[in-house]
């Protein structure tokens, strides 16, 4: 083993690094084969420049040779940094051609882009405001994988908007919280959850828009919860992270307000969490301590808390984490200006 104060030893057959010209934050890994090459996977990287002009680049990853390829033509401008990028989930329908993929980005508005073999075409800009004066910038969104025409967005104006992207209209809009909403995640086709600066995790059901359910509130009142991840393999469980906290809080929606587990092995704040796309018990988290930890949640926790299964140390604070749905033994992380694809 190497000295663990440094980065984990990387070998060329289990990881690949892509160095971007700018800091990367938003990242998406496609769940369907790349339009350029069916055995490759597309990865979209959004830049983070405190500037108006930002870019989103698409690169493709070849798992056989463990290499990435850049595509200079697959790139587009974005006003200010995109807060989230996401590819269309599980595209199986025959309605979309096999040679293109759809990417959604959030920033000032929700935008959809068609990723073709050698170009990216903007599909639509989904803007809810009737006048051009008011727009509520989006902090995050989630693409419903059961009902792929539905995207839910979260905004700093305390609302969540549900879009029907096929028709390009708003399905509904909810005032979700008392303060800015920071993240949103779909559970089923009509159920989503959101976290907010008011420190609560709330579940909403589109069939009953009058009511929402608070399933967790941060122990110190009004401490924002920054990220949320819903376990798509086992819909009972969600994970969330609090501002300035090194804990990953695992919640069971059947038992509100009491977290099922608090994973506290990061040595600095956690930045991103993602559940395994395949296994219902595994979750990966990454944080400012430059580490990405993979945890396995036991049925019952031991007295000293839960230890992670394994760890990866990057060279800098890890800001973003995506577990590839199409290739579940690969995890993508982003730190400073690098993106790494790691074998699990």
């Amino acid at each position: 083993m190497e000295n663990s104060s440094q980065e984990s030893h990387l070998r060329s057959d289990n990881s690949v690094t892509y160095e971007s010209p700018y800091t990367v934050y938003a990242m998406a890994v496609s769940s369907t084969p790349s339009p350029t090459n069916l055995s490759h996977q597309s990865i979209a990287l959004g830049s983070f420049l405190e500037d108006y002009s930002n870019r989103v680049d698409i690169i493709s990853f070849d798992p056989d040779t463990v290499s990435v390829k850049t595509h200079p033509t697959l790139s587009f401008d974005h006003p200010y940094p995109p807060t989230k990028l996401m590819f269309q989930p599980n595209r199986k329908s025959s309605s979309s051609s096999s040679s293109s993929d759809i990417l959604a980005s959030s920033g000032d508005y929700l935008r959809l882009w068609e990723v073709r073999e050698s170009s990216i075409e903007p599909l639509s800009v989904l803007n809810n405001s009737k006048t051009s004066e008011f727009c509520a910038p989006l902090t995050s969104f989630d693409w419903n994988d059961v009902e792929p025409k539905r995207i839910g967005t979260s905004s700093i104006d305390t609302t969540c908007t549900i879009w029907d992207i096929e028709k390009g209209v708003v399905e509904t809009q909810l005032i979700a919280h008392d303060k800015e909403v920071y993240d949103i995640a779909w559970g089923e086709a009509r159920v989503f959850a959101s976290v907010s600066a008011d420190g609560s995790v709330r579940i909403f059901d589109l069939r009953d828009k009058e009511h929402s359910t608070i399933i967790y509130e941060s122990p110190q009142p009004d401490t924002p919860l920054l990220r949320l991840a819903w376990n798509k393999q086992d819909l009972k469980y969600m994970a969330t992270i609090q501002m300035d906290s090194n804990k990953v809080v695992i919640l069971d929606i059947r038992s509100p307000t009491m977290p099922v587990a608090e994973l506290e092995r990061h040595q600095a704040s956690v930045n991103a969490i993602t559940w395994s796309p395949q296994s219902s018990k595994h979750i990966c988290s990454a944080g400012d301590d430059t580490q990405a930890l993979i945890w396995e949640l036991p049925t019952v926790a031991g007295p000293n808390g839960i230890d992670p299964l394994c760890v990866y140390s990057a060279g800098a604070e890890i800001n973003q984490l995506q577990w590839s749905a199409a290739q579940p033994d690969w995890i993508a992380i982003a730190f400073s200006n690098k993106m790494q694809f790691l074998k699990v």
Binding site: S5, Y80, S129, C135, D157, I175, L226, G302
Partner: protein, 636 residues
């Protein structure tokens, strides 16, 4: 369950006492006597033992009265009893487990080691006791926890339980094994001494060529690849340094006869050829040296992934749940999972049968693609040096920027609510249900109160169709500002008419109210407006003059007239000491540069005429100046 009864006939009954004395004297942790099994020929099994190691607690499930003599032997008895009860439970899971005096959660790791050893069997010539018996030579194993499993099959168990030194020597048709949790360097004279002194062995067995296996802390093993190791690259095992005291409770009957020629393995129901031992290497600071002689190649049969998968799936199928102790071993399953199980199947086999079911999940994803090693490394509790902290000290810096600052970069309406068509796309505001009541109830009440107040506001404020909090508040703000403006206007008009109608006021006409300003806001204003001014300096008047006249019914008056940035203030107020100074102060605070002041004080009244120029940057309002002066002048 095999008890020691049959075997003890061949061994002096006081063996236990001898073992006890031996171990206590040399202050080691345990002594075990392995003897040839009567049920299975050619197999060494646990016969008797004495435990002298750490004990966590003397607490027992049932309170047992003891005297001092019995106390010594009692622990070993209790451990044996526990083992038997557990294996009885294992074989017949539905039967009520016979109660043992000891409860599993009270055991230390070393006790567990001792306990687990009871389940082991060794073929002659296999494993440490087996080889000892066949060779007839004592064996001294240092760093047992780092030994290869070829050499010492319980090495991982030893590692987990912190047993470091193990010594075996043949005795009386069986093998005596002594173990300790400290490192004791090899010293065969000790063995001899034990033998002669305590066990009455007359013949000197020790020869010069005693086999020994020792570990060396400072070297690194060269990863000479044993051809038997499968093509999977092996990553080092970084298990827990010590096991939690709550440990497996489910010890199966160790005498499954269906595994050919192997060291102890306790997996049940595995088909014949499938259980194999996979050798592994410690490539860490510690390592073990392996003496390759006399090792049966059947000890380490290379393992293919397919076989492992079989085993995993089989383990998964066999879940013998002992409900009463389920909570105890979950902890161990985690510990188990922290080992790199892919590489040491034997250990996995041993413990997975002990623990309740295995964890195929941890192996599942790994086995997808067994050709490539993972970038992730096993997590070690204390192994990691504190990694670098965030360099500039802000935690979650990028995440916070994305959430807090980036949205505001889009510098259009930040907190404006989206413009919603009230008819169709109504904005819903779900009422939040706090499921878990008590703590939330006051919070919910507070929210409801807030919502109620907002509704009231909404009803008071005209022309506000939107229902959301932000626009209600915005509307209220606008309305208030509007009202203020209107009142100011009306106020000025009224005062002007007052000025018109009023003639010279007598100084003694007193109608002072202390809070003049507020009251008069609500009086009706006459809309008469005259362009005539009432200030003494008439020659400086222009057409664009703002009049702000005095209030009703007061002899004291103040007039502030404004011509662009020039202010002329005419003031009559009751004289008191220092009032002039205060007035000048106020004016300078208001950025009025006074270039001409005329003042008369007669009959207690101060008449003041001040010409000043406004030097401030913002727009000056006559009303503001007047208010300020009033406050000063009529202060009591």
């Amino acid at each position: 369950m095999a008890t020691g009864v049959q075997n003890q006939e061949s061994v002096p009954k006081y063996l236990k006492k001898q073992l006890a004395l031996t171990v206590r004297n040399i202050q080691w942790s345990y002594a075990i006597f392995w003897s040839i099994s009567t049920r299975q020929p050619g197999v060494l099994e646990w016969d008797d033992g004495y435990y002298n190691g750490d004990i966590k607690t003397r607490k027992t499930v049932q309170a047992v009265e003891l005297n001092a003599d019995q106390l010594d032997l009692q622990r070993s008895e209790q451990l044996r009893e526990l083992y038997e009860s557990l294996s009885a439970a294992q074989t017949s899971p539905h039967a009520i487990r016979p109660s043992a005096a000891l409860s599993p959660e009270y055991l230390t790791a070393t006790e567990w080691y001792y306990l687990v050893c009871m389940s082991f069997v060794f073929n002659i010539d296999h494993g440490l006791p087996g080889r000892t018996l066949s060779s007839g030579q004592p064996v001294w194993l240092c760093n047992a926890h780092c030994a290869e499993s070829k050499v010492f099959s319980r090495s991982l168990l030893a590692k987990v339980c912190a047993v470091v030194t193990v010594v075996c020597f043949p005795f009386s048709g069986g093998v005596i094994e002594l173990g300790v949790t400290d490192l004791v360097l090899e010293d065969f004279s000790l063995v001899q001494w034990i033998k002669t002194l305590f066990l009455g062995a007359q013949q000197a067995i020790v020869s010069n060529k005693s086999i020994h296996v020792s570990g060396n802390n400072n070297d690194l093993v060269c990863p000479a690849l044993d051809p038997l190791i499968i093509d999977t690259k092996l990553s080092p095992i970084l298990g827990c340094e010590h096991l939690e005291t709550s440990f497996p409770d489910d010890i199966p009957d160790g005498l499954e006869p269906n595994q050919p020629g192997e060291d102890s393995f306790l997996v049940q129901g595995i088909d014949g050829g499938a259980s194999q031992v996979q050798s592994w290497q410690c490539m860490d600071e510690e390592f073990s040296n392996c003496v390759h002689h006399s090792l049966n190649s059947s000890d380490c049969i290379s393992q293919t992934c397919a076989d492992v998968r079989n085993i995993i799936s089989l383990d998964q199928e066999e879940k013998n749940y002992d409900n009463s102790l389920q909570d105890v071993d979950e902890c161990n399953q985690i510990k188990l999972a922290s080992f790199d199980l892919q590489n040491d199947l034997h250990f996995h086999a041993v413990l997975s049968a002990i623990l309740k079911g295995s964890h195929p999940l941890i192996l599942g994803p790994r086995f997808q693609n067994s050709n490539k090693e993972s970038s992730f490394v096993c997590w070690r509790k204390n192994g990691l040096v504190k990694p670098q902290k965030a360099r500039d000290g802000t935690p979650q810096k990028l995440l916070k920027k994305i959430l807090f600052f980036v949205p505001h970069m889009h510098d259009r309406g930040l907190s404006e609510s989206p413009d919603v068509n009230g008819v169709r796309d109504a904005v819903w505001r779900p009422e939040a249900d706090d499921i878990c009541g008590n703590r939330e109830l006051p919070e919910r009440k507070r929210r409801e109160k807030i919502n109620d107040r907002l509704m009231i506001l909404k009803s008071m404020v005209p022309a506000n169709s939107k229902a959301d909090k932000v626009s209600i508040l915005d509307g209220t703000i606008n309305y208030l500002q509007d009202l203020e403006r209107r009142v100011a206007e009306l106020e000025s008009c009224r005062e002007l008419t007052e000025l018109e109608t009023r003639t010279k006021r007598k100084p003694d006409h007193v109608e002072r109210t202390s809070d003049n300003y507020g009251n008069n806001k609500t009086t009706n204003a006459k809309k008469l407006y005259s362009s005539k001014r009432k200030t003494p300096d008439a020659d400086e008047v222009d057409d664009e003059i703002d009049h702000v006249a005095t209030k009703d019914g007061s002899t004291d008056n103040i007039t502030v007239s404004m011509n662009k940035n020039d202010f002329i203030i005419v003031l009559k107020c009751p004289w008191r000491e220092g009032v002039l100074l205060e007035i000048m102060d106020v004016l300078s605070i208001l950025s009025l540069d006074c270039h001409s002041v005329q003042s008369f004080a007669t009959a207690g009244i101060l008449s003041l005429t001040i010409k000043s120029k406004y030097k401030g940057s913002s727009v000056a309002k006559a009303g503001t100046i007047k208010q300020a002066l009033q406050r000063v002048a009529w202060k009591y």
